[in-house]
Each structure stands twice: as structure tokens, then as C-alpha cells.
């Protein structure tokens, strides 16, 4: 057998290498001279090894496969009667299939070259059709109803008489001061509470109003901080020192 020298081409994989060897030896895929091809295949792997090229496991798997086929062909046949399958069959089938796809790939490359001669254009600017529903379903009656609503709301907002106002606002059944103390003492213990929890178990509207005003007052004097934690409003206690520190930071 003549020595085959490689330029150590890189192959797409072990099957690619095998196809290369078969072509180089001008032998038939349907009748692979298994010992020659195996020898050359192993020689290639050795060279890869020599040049310190990492041999992927796939190359080794095929190498083992080749050696196995080779051993099978060398073994004497036990029974001449029994027709045994050619041990090369499976490998040959794989190589043929792979070669078909290589040809299909070459065909696609040609198509790609042809396609690259075709050009497209970008889309034109197209003014979209305007479907204006602004005034659909709006009638004069709607306008009339709207103005009537406005008039009605305004009538509620007429100025209160001074006497009536004193009756409503003058009397403070729950003092804001008491609620300031309540909120602070709660915070001193818990550090942080949900805003809505302040109003838990309250019995009267006056109490709710006083508590709310207390919270506003505490925010104003920088004793508490309010933060929105994903939609849950929380209130936390700012002790005086920290409050002052924050202010200084802001100044700087």
C-alpha cells in the first residue's frame, strides 16, 4: 500500500475524513477496503496527536468501529451455509447518507449564490387609515347629561353657612394629638407598619380622619417615612437623629 501523506486538513468530522480517504483511494463506498482505510484513518489520528490537535471523542468512536469491522472481516466464517451480513454494511449506509447530505449542502450553496442576486426593497411609508371613533355614540343628550351632572355637583359645593361649617368642623370628638401619640407608639415598637393597618378596628369616621391627619402631620415634621412597596404603602419610624442626618445629606 502506498503511503498517504496528509496536509492535515481539517475535517467536519470522522465521517468526512472517511469519505475523504475513500475518495483518495478511488475505492467504492459499496466495497470499502476496510483494513487499508482503517490504517489510514488511524494514521491520520496519530498525526493529529503529533500536532497536538485535540482528537474529539467522535473520531475515536469511529476508530473503534473501524477496528471492530476489520476484526470481523478477518475472522473465519463459521458456517458457510449461513449467510452473514456484511459487517461493513452499516458504516457504508451511514457514509452514503452523509454524502447525500453533503451534496444537498453543495446544492444549497449554489442556490444561495443565485438568491444573493435578488434584491428587495424596504416598505414604503404608508399613511394608516384613521378610524375615528371620537364622536361615535356621543349625542347631544350626552352633552346635556354631562352639563346637568356638572351643575348638580356644583350645587353640592355651594359655600356652607358659617354656622353650618362650625357645626361640622368646629367640634373635634377625637383629637389629632392623641392619634399622633398612638401612631408614634405603634411605630416605636414595630418600626414599620402598613399604612392601612393604622386604621384597623377604628369605629368612627372622626377617628379615621384624626388618624389620617396625624400621619400627615408626622410626615410634615419628618418623624415618619412613607414608602410604596409594590403598591403596599408602608410607614416607618424615623428617629430624630436620623431624620436630621438625612437632611444634612440633602444639603450636601
Amino acid at each position: 500500500m502506498k503511503q498517504i501523506s496528509f496536509k492535515l486538513d481539517t475535517f467536519e468530522g470522522p465521517l468526512d475524513l472517511l469519505l475523504h480517504l475513500i475518495q483518495k483511494n478511488k475505492v467504492s463506498l459499496y466495497d470499502i477496503p476496510i483494513s487499508e482505510i482503517t490504517e489510514q484513518y488511524m494514521e491520520y489520528l496519530e498525526q493529529m496527536n503529533f500536532f497536538d490537535i485535540e482528537i474529539s471523542s467522535e473520531f475515536l468512536v469511529i476508530a473503534a468501529n473501524l477496528l471492530y469491522i476489520k476484526s470481523k472481516t478477518l475472522l473465519p466464517k463459521h458456517d458457510e451455509e449461513q449467510e452473514e451480513e456484511d459487517p461493513r454494511l452499516e458504516l457504508a449506509q451511514r457514509l452514503i447518507l452523509y454524502k447525500r447530505f453533503k451534496k444537498a449542502a453543495a446544492y444549497l450553496s449554489e442556490r444561495e449564490a443565485i438568491a444573493s442576486h435578488t434584491f428587495y426593497k424596504p416598505r414604503e411609508y404608508i399613511e394608516p387609515i384613521l378610524i375615528d371613533e371620537s364622536l361615535s355614540f356621543v349625542t347631544l343628550d350626552h352633552l346635556h347629561d354631562a352639563i346637568a351632572d356638572v351643575a348638580e355637583r356644583l350645587s353640592f359645593r355651594r359655600p356652607l353657612s358659617a354656622k353650618k361649617f362650625r357645626e361640622m368642623a368646629g367640634r373635634e370628638s377625637v383629637s389629632v394629638f392623641s392619634k399622633v401619640k398612638a401612631v408614634l407608639s405603634k411605630l416605636k415598637i414595630l418600626k414599620k407598619i402598613k399604612f392601612l393597618d393604622i386604621f384597623k378596628n377604628m369605629k368612627s369616621r372622626d377617628e379615621v380622619v384624626a388618624s389620617f391627619l396625624a400621619v400627615l402631620e408626622l410626615i410634615k415634621v419628618n418623624r415618619i417615612a412613607v414608602e410604596d412597596n409594590n403598591g403596599v404603602v408602608e410607614i416607618s419610624y424615623l428617629n430624630k437623629k436620623r431624620g436630621r442626618k438625612d437632611l444634612e445629606h440633602k444639603k450636601n
Binding site: 434584491f119 428587495y120 426593497k121 424596504p122 416598505r123 414604503e124 404608508i126 399613511e127 394608516p128 387609515i129 384613521l130 378610524i131 375615528d132 371613533e133 371620537s134 364622536l135 361615535s136 355614540f137 356621543v138 349625542t139 347631544l140 343628550d141 350626552h142 352633552l143 346635556h144 354631562a146 352639563i147 346637568a148 351632572d149 356638572v150 351643575a151 355637583r153 356644583l154 350645587s155 359645593r157 355651594r158 359655600p159 356652607l160 361649617f165 368642623a169 389629632v176 394629638f177 391627619l213 400627615l216 402631620e217
Partner: protein, 189 residues
């Protein structure tokens, strides 16, 4: 290169470019002199026009461009999603009603009557041409006075404002500051 082929090359180049191309540039690309180019473009343009083709060639100054024939715009528009203007919101209808019944009004009067800032609604109505500026109020800042337009009358199919359904007169007390005075007192603890 024969005329037919020059014609095809021009067609391909104008198509792919999308933009307008100057006569000089086109003559350079197609590799024919300007006079020939212009006569072939003319031929192609006439052919498109005569056959009422979907595309046409327009001349913009010393440039040529391929475009769709205006006649088919109705179909072309269907390629893109139509833009939709949603029905007026309740708030905007309210503002329109206030302008219609109380005109001429300023933005701040509208705001006072409704108790909330109404600029978005006012702007939308201006954009739709249902209201317009009718002058300035003789007051500090000279705020604009708004009133309804003819488009408003057309849209509601009335011939004049006197046809608006009548309402009981109501007084607009502005500004309404009673509550703010009261609250002020409470907040200042």
C-alpha cells in the same frame, strides 16, 4: 444594450433603491448616456401610465423615483394597521359640554367647575377641531377663551348653539374656596 434591457435595468434599480435617484447617478449605474437614459425613463413612465400599472415613475426635481399609483392607495393602506381614535372619555365629553354651554370659557374656569385639571381633554378637543380659541380674557395672564367650532355643530348635526337642549341655569361660583379655608385650619395643627 438594447432599449428593452435598459428599461428593465432602470426598473430594477429604481425598485431596489426605494429612494429617488438623480439622473446623473442613474445614468452612471445603468451605464448609458443621460439623453438615452431620459428617453428610456420617459418611455417606461408612459408605458406604466398608459397601462394604468400599480407602479409609476415620478420625477422630483432632477431625480426619479418609483412609487405606487395614487389610484390604488385605498388598497395599499390596508397593508398597515389602521390607526384608531377611541371614543371620547366621559371627562372629555364633560369638558366639551362645559365649553358648549358656558362659552367662552378659560381653562381655569373649566378646571374650577370640574374640580380637576382638564388640560388633556381640552387639548384633545382642540386637536379634533371641536373647540377653538375665540380670543383672550381681559385678565392677568390673558388666558385663552375657548368656544365650540362649526365642526362641533356639524358633528352633532345642529345648525346653531341655540339648538342645544336647554338646561336650568346654574351659577358658577369661582373660585370655590370654602373647603380649602376649612382644611387649612385643620392641617395647621
Amino acid at each position: 444594450m438594447n432599449i428593452k434591457r435598459i428599461e428593465s435595468v432602470i426598473e430594477a434599480v429604481l425598485f431596489a433603491s426605494g429612494d429617488a435617484i438623480s439622473i446623473d447617478k442613474l445614468s452612471e449605474i445603468v451605464e448609458v448616456d443621460k439623453a438615452t437614459l431620459q428617453s428610456v425613463v420617459k418611455r417606461l413612465t408612459d408605458k406604466y401610465d398608459y397601462e394604468q400599472r400599480g407602479i409609476k415613475i415620478i420625477q422630483v426635481g432632477d431625480k426619479y423615483q418609483m412609487a405606487t399609483r395614487g389610484e390604488y392607495a385605498k388598497y395599499v393602506q390596508k397593508i398597515v394597521q389602521p390607526r384608531k381614535r377611541n371614543p371620547l372619555s366621559k371627562a372629555t365629553i364633560e369638558v366639551l359640554a362645559i365649553v358648549a354651554y358656558k362659552q367662552p370659557v378659560t381653562r381655569s374656569t373649566i378646571e374650577n367647575i370640574r374640580g380637576v385639571n382638564s388640560d388633556n381633554s381640552v387639548n384633545r378637543l382642540l386637536e379634533l377641531g371641536l373647540i377653538e380659541e375665540k380670543g383672550k380674557l381681559d385678565a392677568p395672564g390673558r388666558p385663552a377663551l375657548f368656544g365650540t367650532t362649526d365642526e362641533f355643530l356639524r358633528s352633532f348635526a345642529v345648525s346653531s348653539l341655540s339648538e342645544l337642549p336647554s338646561i336650568d341655569e346654574f351659577v358658577i361660583e369661582e373660585p370655590i374656596d370654602t373647603e380649602s379655608e376649612g382644611s387649612q385650619q385643620i392641617i395647621d395643627l
